[in-house]
Symmetry: C4
Subunit: 327 residues, 4 copies
């Protein structure tokens, strides 16, 4: 496993990392969580992505319990959590980044994770109803209190990120250092165009999610939705729509000649392609069992093979599908 | 119940809220306090206004005990307190906003409330004998120590509020986000004229008090002071003078045709009128028993009915009475 | 007793206050300390001046024990301490205002006083071997940690005070609010000339020491040094020289006609004269027994009588003696 | 022993100090550590240099245990530690100055030393992979949390030091006050040329290491490497190369006439020469037993004898050897 700086910060994150989204607390129980974490760590993964909202808080509980059992040294691994969606109904308990919610949220996450601090805290979405200055102060304060080390955003617009950065610079507060956007062969505009100036100007790092475009890029939906797929879980109807998108399915098939040439799976190709963008600090992968982790991690060997020629061939295979995907 | 942002901050407060002023510790004992809080919460109220000085500290004790018994989740409700008047005689114990008083005051309030923090802290009055910079630092420090989340003022002049805001901006401290002024049909100048620029320029929010003009707008004083009225409590002689003001009493009577048309009480009309000003974040209502809370909360349905035509009719009924009332 | 703002700060200090210098731990034991504190408090004194170095730390211990026994409410009294001279030999233990000394010093003082915080902390002298920026940061940090409320200086030059104030303004730190200079009829230059611009420009307050010019202004040295006088204590040879200064003794005698006219003692006149300067926030008086405290406090009644005419007569009586005294 | 200010800071350090590098935990066990510390302290040494990495953490443990047994007053001695190299493998555990490493590192050092704070914390080397702003914030935060009093750098370029200083000034954070460079007769460029502007412009202080040029300036390598020498320890092959450098050995011999004239050893001359540079705050000496400490400390008497004439003679004896040594 290679390690990269999280943007211009000094933190080193593994090229590939493991996220608990969708799986932990739903498909994955505590024993499996422990197993996937352990296998990923053995492969060199040092960043484990989480969020307050994943599985209604159960992801954090599972990951906290598992890491405690594994007995890892706190200096060796990086944990994130994210705030915005909230865990309960109420005007200051969901869909907000206000000071009250954030104070309660970090305390809850640290309890569930059984940790003194998380390494990375994300504003899980922008909140148009809270001034960015209020949120920047709240994130800064979490770092000053020792509850977190670095803060960033997820799915914020370039203008919002710049705004937060500038407020922090003006008031001498900790600046956001990373953004967690969706990034895959079908979803490229934000990372490649909208954020273009932020990498150099702000030193922004990226922890990208959904490298397999909700699983389409695995190729497993070529012949329809297999039984037991993610998209059959209750509440994931939006996913079912994505994985039956005919343009995506066709583009995926056109990639097979390239993955065959590299002697790897479509998934490995898709993950490696994300990581081959030098602005990406780490590609967050998901897995519901240890075999998937092992398979995903083999993408490490593909990354250095993706030279300009191969990347051009991939662009050609995808065509306009990636560009036209709405954010 | 609808919720509004507290000025430009991210905190969501219920349109109507409940205050402990006058009632708690005087007319209202702990059982009644629990009852009024419970009924208000059921109606959607999430902001409960308090002050160190109310009933000489007993308001905070009562509210703290009642909320503890009710077992509310700390993330669900918003508590305020206010500092200035003090609870004891002595040069640094009353009528001041100096650093020494404020340090002692917040510790006392948190003890009486049995809470780790209050959401909102107010400077209950301006203090001409303490530099605003000293007070801004002290309020900022309470927030940094985690004893409070937001700070603001009560009955400060526009110039004083701007001054505090600018000092905070210059020294990178937490800015005041709200003001608690008196606001009702007889007392409009400050909110509608003096503060006019502050809503947009500073993002000021308002938590307004005395929507019923010390009860006059209930109409209950039309035929003289009823027995057991607030204005017969010792120390409330000033109130007796207000509730016998002939101009106010006459103007109140002229509103009856409008409240009749809306099929609501005079009180509900008066409360709804305050809330129909979009600069008002929340209207603090008072009540000495749960029936009054229920009655007051019905004003929620009147708010959306107060269109421009009706507001013009109300202005006509009040005439110059509201404008000419001294602050 | 009247109270005045400590300079432009919001803290109210009694016009006359009580200091432990010279007396506590030397002439005064714990029982007497308790008695003098109690009598002073009864007279309205709310500020009790102390310093780490007084009686080698014993002053703080005595005052701490006495106040604990008296059971005073922490909100009612103001305690100071001062750092610079140190209590032990060693390169970072005396004659310094560096960060290491100040950290150890405040911890020691709070222990001896048995208090959570002191109200006022003074830099007891300027330290040419520590950058003012380092000292300003250390004093600011004590306030931020909650160990003190206000900070100031003692016997600093106007230039040094301005420098500290400006550094605090530039780096957004707590500014010095008071200075403790010697001030009496024989020692006027610094307060009346050197600091002239600081009262308005910086809002500087003064807590002045030695109102009786080491006792000369009591008149008790007119016929030589009485037995048991302070100036006979070991280590006070410098004092012996002062109290036999023929110019001072003669000037003191010339004041008798004025004190006679006011029907007060020479001491009361001298103390009241200091307090009649509106830039003085409080005059620190000393006493070795409760009778002295009672006598000194009678100066309160003299202060309002010192009109311009009387002050001119006092100036005439003193002549050039006060002006020519070296700092 | 004389004491000097650490650069422009207010901290007083002994001209000669004692470091644990190489010796503690390797050649020196706990009893010997206690003995060397005790003898050095008796000679007036008040600064004891340490680093996380020395002997893999054992230096800190040894020094912590020894000082505890010696029962020294915390106000009397100055302890340093240094962070960068780390104690374990892993992407955020070595060769970094990022926020995560630094947080874990200071906690580990304080535990091993059994102290509440260290006086001086050094960035042991520059880290090109962490923004200087991130490191400045982390060092500032350690000071604000009370874990350290002053921070500085070791073997940073002048440009890097200026950069850190300016960031601290701009964001109102604690500035670096000292640098720990190698400095001896064969290694002069950095201290005398590269840093020239920093002493006055930034107030930089120096705690210099290797005054004896890895032992060559003792003269003990004149006839080859003696048995039991440092340079025979495993992992010190680089040292063996240095101590057999023929230019260094020849230059050392040319110094003998000067040390003979001063009636001191070559070591004492070399140590005193470092200290005779007024920009040097303290010269860190090493010793594997108490006799060496006693011998080294005799250099104190040589320092004031090194006048301009003698310094010119020393320069002539060294010739171009010192100038041409690479950093």
């Amino acid at each position: 496993m290679k390690y990269r700086r999280l943007g211009r910060s000094g933190l080193q994150v593994s090229e590939l990392s493991l996220g608990s989204w969708v799986t932990y607390g739903n498909q994955v129980d505590e024993d499996s969580a422990l197993e996937t974490l352990s296998v990923a760590r053995d492969a060199g993964v040092n960043f484990f992505d989480n969020a307050e909202v994943y599985a209604g808080g159960k992801s954090e509980t599972l990951m906290g319990n598992a890491i405690k059992k594994l007995g890892w040294d706190r200096a060796d691994y990086i944990i994130s959590t994210k705030f915005y969606w909230g865990l309960a109904q109420g005007p200051n308990r969901k869909n907000t980044l206000n000071r009250k919610y954030l104070r309660q949220a970090i305390e809850g996450s640290l309890q569930r994770l059984q940790m003194d601090y998380v390494d990375l805290i994300f504003c899980h979405r922008p909140d148009p109803n809270t001034p960015i200055e209020e949120t920047v102060w709240a994130m800064h304060d979490m770092i000053q209190r020792g509850q977190a080390l670095y803060w960033g955003t997820s799915e914020w617009s370039a203008a919002e990120i710049v705004s937060a950065w500038q407020i922090a610079e003006r008031h001498h507060l900790h600046k956001p250092v990373m953004e967690q956007p969706q990034y895959n062969l079908f979803h490229r505009d934000r990372v490649e165009t909208e954020y273009a100036r932020l990498y150099e100007d702000l030193g922004l790092g990226l922890t990208t999610w959904s490298p397999l475009a909700s699983g389409v890029l695995t190729g497993k939906y070529a012949n329809g939705i297999p039984a037991g797929s993610r998209s059959t879980l209750p509440g994931y109807e939006w996913l079912q729509k994505l994985v039956t998108n005919p343009d995506w399915l066709a583009a995926t098939e056109r990639l097979r000649s390239i993955s065959d040439k590299l002697d790897c799976t479509l998934s490995q190709l898709a993950i490696a392609w994300c990581a081959s963008n030098p602005q990406v600090s780490t590609v967050i992968t998901g897995a519901s069992n240890k075999t998937q982790v092992i398979e995903n991690m083999k993408a490490i060997d593909i990354i250095p093979q993706l030279n300009a020629t191969l990347r051009d061939q991939i662009d050609a295979a995808i065509g306009t599908v990636g560009v036209s995907t709405p954010a």
